[in-house]
């Protein structure tokens, strides 16, 4: 990976600027000419998609904030005002609401891609940790955003989650009341959540810049997990990956548009179209789909404090993942055992999501406990042991060799098919 700049300022003005603020140079080196492994598949386009999602949420969010009223008596009506009286308000709100789901869909693909290809391993530990920080900020932002329409699920979701802090010994109640700004979830809570919900996307934006910075120091991982060794292992980001990312983004937008225009409410809960009522508890209090796995973990533990700790642990464990995986081989392609455990882990996470949507009783509770236990077993037992006992498949010498080999295999198959 060459760190030398290849930028040559063309015009006089460019030269003048380059000596004072080399912004164009930075953009050129980090976007146009950035050497990127030539073998990245479509799973690697989700970084670009996520950037798009973040910008979309910020832009639509700023417009929504122009019309929204953060007041316990007016919030619900102001959302309906946006839906009915603001020009294209329905469109902006549905983009924002569906956009949150799409953002999480993309981030889960992005995370599981990282897990499959071992993108968290040296030298990309910091890159991975920054990613987990972004994810954590996303969860908090999404949670607070869900409170803003001040529907029944907003209110009761906020009540359940803020109450979790009350389990902290000694200072729990004080902290909870401090978060609420009173003695219950009320107007003060809504107002501060709105303020923080507006702030946090910009914090995410900041960490995203660090995330990309770190990526551009270590370079991309790739599907074979072999580091870039020679110049022919890479292609310049533009036009190769700009066009690939753009195509992938538009495909993603088709799904996005499907939900906005033809199924905008299916990803949310119908109870959130009922105005918040502190005196009526909904039959089932459930978070949005993207937080269901954590909700399942929370409720799988019989003690409240335990549940909070284990749920926190489920995210915290991601921070130390680079040191839990003992295998030096990055890509699951060359790890026959890890590959299987990876899929089991993925199914386990989906199962946790489903269980999070059900009442924790009977069979569901038993299943939640098994799946919660397996979530941690995967990280604490399977990953450390696998690295020691697994015999990896032969690893290609270089990215280029792997690419050429793949083409060769394809040709052989074609020849066989013809014969």
């Amino acid at each position: 990976m060459s760190k030398e700049s290849t930028y040559i300022p063309k015009s006089g003005l460019s030269k003048w600027f380059d000596q004072r603020l080399p912004l164009q140079r930075m953009m050129h080196d980090n976007i146009n000419a950035f050497p990127t492994p030539r073998n990245l598949n479509y799973w690697y386009t989700f970084g670009g998609i996520l950037t798009f999602c973040l910008v979309t949420q910020i832009v639509t969010g700023i417009v929504l904030a122009m019309h929204y009223t953060a007041d316990a008596n007016l919030a619900f009506a102001s959302v309906e005002h946006i839906m009915r009286n603001v020009n294209y308000g329905w469109l902006i709100r549905y983009i924002h609401a569906v956009g949150a789901s799409m953002f999480f869909l993309a981030v889960y693909v992005h995370i599981f891609r990282g897990l499959y290809y071992g993108s968290y391993k040296a030298p990309r530990e910091v890159l991975w940790i920054l990613g987990v920080v972004i994810y954590l900020l996303m969860v908090i932002t999404a949670f607070m955003g869900y409170v803003l329409p001040w529907g029944q699920m907003s209110f009761w979701g906020a009540t359940v989650i803020t109450n979790l802090f009350s389990v902290i010994p000694v200072v729990g109640t004080t902290i909870t009341e401090w978060l609420w700004g009173g003695f219950a979830v009320d107007n003060a809570t809504l107002k501060r959540f709105f303020s923080l919900h507006y702030l946090m996307p910009f914090m995410i934006f900041g960490v995203v810049i660090l995330h990309i910075w770190s990526l551009h120091v270590t370079g991309n991982n790739n599907p074979v997990g072999v580091s870039v060794k020679e110049k022919q292992d890479t292609v310049p980001f533009a036009p190769y990956y700009t066009v690939k990312d753009a195509f992938s983004l538009v495909c993603f937008l088709i799904l996005f548009a499907w939900f906005i225009f033809f199924n905008p409410n299916i990803l949310g809960h119908t109870d959130n179209y009922i105005m918040a009522d502190p005196l009526v508890t909904p039959a089932h209090i459930v978070p949005e789909w993207y937080l269901l796995p954590f909700y399942a973990i929370l409720r799988a533990i019989p003690s409240k404090l335990g549940g909070v700790l284990v749920m926190g642990g489920a995210i915290a464990i991601l921070f130390i993942l680079p040191w839990l995986d003992t295998s030096k081989v990055r890509s699951a392609t060359f790890r026959p055992l890890y590959k299987q455990f990876y899929w089991i882990f993925l199914v386990n996470c989906i199962a946790l999501g489903y269980l999070g949507s059900q009442n924790p009783e009977g069979l569901f509770l038993v299943a939640s406990r098994i799946c919660t236990a397996y979530y941690f077993i995967h990280f604490l037992l399977v990953l450390p042991i696998l690295g020691l006992v697994e015999k990896p498949k032969p690893i290609p010498e270089s990215i280029t060799k792997a690419v050429l080999e793949k083409i060769e295999i394809k040709n052989i198959k074609e020849r066989r098919a013809e014969a």
Binding site: E80, K244, I407
Partner: protein, 302 residues
Amino acid sequence: MKRLKSKTLKKEERRLSSKNMSKLSIHKLTICVVFQILFVFFITAEVFAAGEQKRVKKHHWSFAGIFGHYDDAQLQRGFQVYREVCSSCHSMNYVYYRNLAEEGGPGFTVEEVKVIASEDMIMDGPDEYGEMFERPGKPSDIFVSPYANQNEARASNGGAYPPDFSVLAKARSTLRGFPWWFIDLFTGYQEQGVDYIYALLNGYSEPPTEFNLQSGMHYNEYYPGKQIGMGQPLYDESVEYADGTIASVEQMAEDVSAFMMWAAEPKLEMRKRMGFKVAIFLFVLAGLLYYSKKKIWARIEH
């Protein structure tokens, strides 16, 4: 290159040989077993859960589907049912009279809406002497509410609050169960709420003998717990339709449900029409980008 070729050839042959095939299918088998256990588990769980509440049947609506649009005549009939029956207890606090003349709505003319609005008396004020006064409604007014506030509404209805109709069609749902909740994501089925309302309005019947019905409650098999505070609101010929349609309970239930869907989602037609245009744009753009990508990547082996 030559060495690489022979190596890969051998490798590929080895992969295709029966010895490795059996190993591969064992991997697949493990995954299949895991999936199967989960699937069977979910299905059984669903069967357990299904016992509680009667499943709501899918009804045919003109506004369902990608090209869905409201039936003006149906919305007008539904509005009539709301006005003559429902509005004695249920408010519509987010709907304005002017909405009735807006595009994608019941299709009343502006003049008709002025007349409709003027038939209701609106509390306004304070005037220059500080007094509240009543005046005939204007298109810019919100639908007149049957009660001054929630407490009055509760007091008049035995403690039960008749919910506001504005977004009710989006605030109700039906238990769909696995695998339907997943399939619904990609079929565009968004009429759970209106299906539920339609079923509920048709769902009144005599309680089974063993059923313990509390006093002041009414038996309805679609309502959670099967006891509902609202008495059967619609009977045959509760209203006399201006367009001559026979006012059966099913007909009125269907019409008022459709009207409530419009009230909850007044921009539905605009949304679906725009969605179709956006989809065409995105598909064409995706096609162009796909071939651009192919052309650019043809420069290198990949």
